[in-house]
Symmetry: C2
Subunit: 276 residues, 2 copies
C-alpha cells in the first residue's frame, strides 16, 4: 500500500516539489475539535496541566513555501536520495525510524503538526495484538484537530484507538506517558505548524526540556529523531540548541549525528540521537 | 564475494573496531617501488611534474588509532548503520559511490593511500569491455607502492591494467587525466597515510586546488566524495576549507551535504558534492 501525504513546513528542495498538496480534510473536518480527543485525555489519572507557551511569536517568515509530498513505506534509499537532492529531511527521518521501530512498540510524536508523522508512526507500531501505541502531543488546538482528522480518514477505528493525542507541551511528555512504559522513538519536527499560524513556533527553551525528557524515557536501542527547520527567525537558535544537546550526550550511551545540506543553509537538518 | 580490508586512519567508533588489520602485503612487497608504476607513467605524453609538497609536517598525533576493517559490496544500509554507530565514514562513502558509478565509467582516486578506495573503485567500473578506468594518485611513494601491491594481489592482470597510478599531487589531477574524458567520481580521503609517516598529511591549500580541479572535470550526474579526518593538527582547518568549498557551490548545479557525528568531534566527516 503506497499512501502519499503532504508534509514539510518548508520545502528543502524546490526543484523536486511539484505543487502544494492540500491536507485532505474530510467534509466533517470543521466539526473536529479537542472534544474528539477526550477519550485519550480521560485516560490520564491526572488532568492535563494548563497549556504552556512552548511556541514563541515572531512576525515574518519570508521563506515559507508550500509543503511538498512524501511517500512512506516502500521507498528505499531515502538517505542516498537526500544526498542527491531527491529526498527530503522527513523522508530520511522516516527511513531511519523504520530501522528502529518494531510492531508493538510505544512511540512519541512530540510535535503532531498536521499529523503526518503521527500516522507514519502508527503504521510502524500497529499490529494485531493492539499493543503498539503512539502518544502524540501539540500545544496548538489546530494541530491536534488536523491530526485527529487525518487519523480518522486514514485508519480503522481500532487502529485509531492506538493513538493517544494530548494538548500538551512536549516538555511535559512525561506527564502523559505512563511511567512504566519504555519508549522506542521520540520524534520532533521543529518549527511552526505547516499551513497554520506562522507566528507560533517551537522554541529552544521548551525544546531542550523536551529533549531531556525524551532522553529519560527512551529505551536502549531507541531513537530521538529531530528535523530542525532553520529558516524561520528562531530556527537557527533552536538548531544550535538541539545540536548542543546532542553533542553533549555521552558517547558511551549515545550515537548522535546530523545530515546537513552545505549549500542550502536554510534546508531543514535531520538530527538523530540513537541510544545504544 | 566478500573481501575484507583494513581501512581507516582513525577509527571513528572504537567500540566496533575489533583489532588492527595489517595490510596483507605479499612476500614480494619489498621489491615493489615506483618502477612498478612505469607502464602507467609511460602512458603520459608528458613526463610527470616534480612532486609538489601537498602534505605538511606536524609533530604529534595523539589520537591516531589502529585502522578498523570494512566490508565492501554486499553490505546494505551503510548510511543507517552509520547513524547507529555500526558503520564508518568510509562505508558510507562506498555506499554512495555505488549509487553513482556505473561499469565502464572513469573515476579518480585523488588520495590512493594504501589502495583500498582504489580497489573499491575498480570493482565498480570494471567490465568486460575494459572501458572503465581508475586514475589514482598520491605524492607519497610508500602509498603508491602499497596500492600497487594491493592491486596486484587482488586483481587479475587485465583488471589491474584498468588502474593508472601517478606520483602526483591531487591538485594536478588535470595533468594526468586525458582532457576528453568525463569523470564520474573523484574521491578524497583526507589526512595522513594510514600506517605511514604521520608527519605528512594533506593540507587545505592543495586540497582546495584539487577540489576545484575535480569540479571542472566531473560530469553531470557525477560526484565529488571527501572523507575528512579532523583529528590531526591540520585536520580541522582542512575540514573547514572543504566545507566552505562545498557551501559555495551553486545550488543550481550541485547538491552538497555532510554527515557529521555530533558527540564525536574527532570522527571523520563524509562530505558529498553531487553534480546535477
Amino acid at each position: 500500500m503506497s499512501m502519499r501525504f503532504s508534509a514539510l513546513p518548508w520545502r528543502s528542495f524546490p526543484r523536486t516539489v511539484a505543487s502544494e498538496k492540500k491536507i485532505p480534510l474530510s467534509g466533517k473536518a470543521g466539526t473536529y475539535g479537542l472534544s474528539a480527543l477526550s477519550p485519550s485525555l480521560s485516560a490520564l489519572s491526572v488532568p492535563p496541566k494548563p497549556l504552556l507557551r512552548c511556541r514563541a511569536s515572531f512576525s515574518t517568515l519570508h521563506d515559507a513555501a508550500p509543503p511538498g509530498e512524501i511517500s512512506l513505506p516502500g521507498v528505499e534509499d531515502e538517505m542516498v536520495g537526500y544526498i542527491f537532492g531527491k529526498k527530503k529531511a522527513t523522508d530520511v527521518a522516516h527511513s531511519v525510524w523504520k530501522h528502529v521501530v518494531r510492531r508493538g512498540d510505544t512511540v512519541v510524536d512530540a510535535t503532531c503538526g498536521n499529523g503526518y508523522d503521527t500516522l507514519a508512526m502508527l503504521r510502524l507500531v500497529a499490529d494485531l495484538s493492539g499493543k503498539g501505541r503512539v502518544f502524540g502531543m501539540d500545544i496548538q488546538e489546530e494541530a491536534l484537530t488536523n491530526t485527529d482528522s487525518l487519523l480518522t480518514q486514514s485508519l480503522t477505528p481500532s487502529e485509531k484507538e492506538l493513538v493517544k493525542l494530548f494538548p500538551t507541551c512536549h516538555s511535559k511528555m512525561e506527564e502523559v506517558i505512563p511511567k512504566d512504559v519504555l519508549v522506542r522513538l521520540v520524534a520532533f519536527n521543529l518549527g511552526y505548524l505547516p499551513g497554520g499560524d506562522k507566528e507560533i513556533s517551537t522554541v529552544s527553551e521548551t525544546t531542550l526540556l523536551a529533549l531531556e525528557a525524551a532522553g529519560r524515557i527512551i529505551e536502549p536501542g531507541g531513537l530521538i529523531s529531530a528535523v530542525v527547520y532553520v529558516g524561520h527567525p528562531k530556527g537557527r537558535e533552536e538548531f544550535e540548541a538541539v545540536q548542543a544537546f546532542a553533542s553533549g550526550l555521552s558517547t558511551e550511551d549515545w550515537v548522535c549525528c546530523k545530515l546537513q545540506m552545505l549549500n542550502r543553509p536554510l534546508a531543514p537538518v535531520p538530527i538523530f540521537m540513537f541510544k545504544r
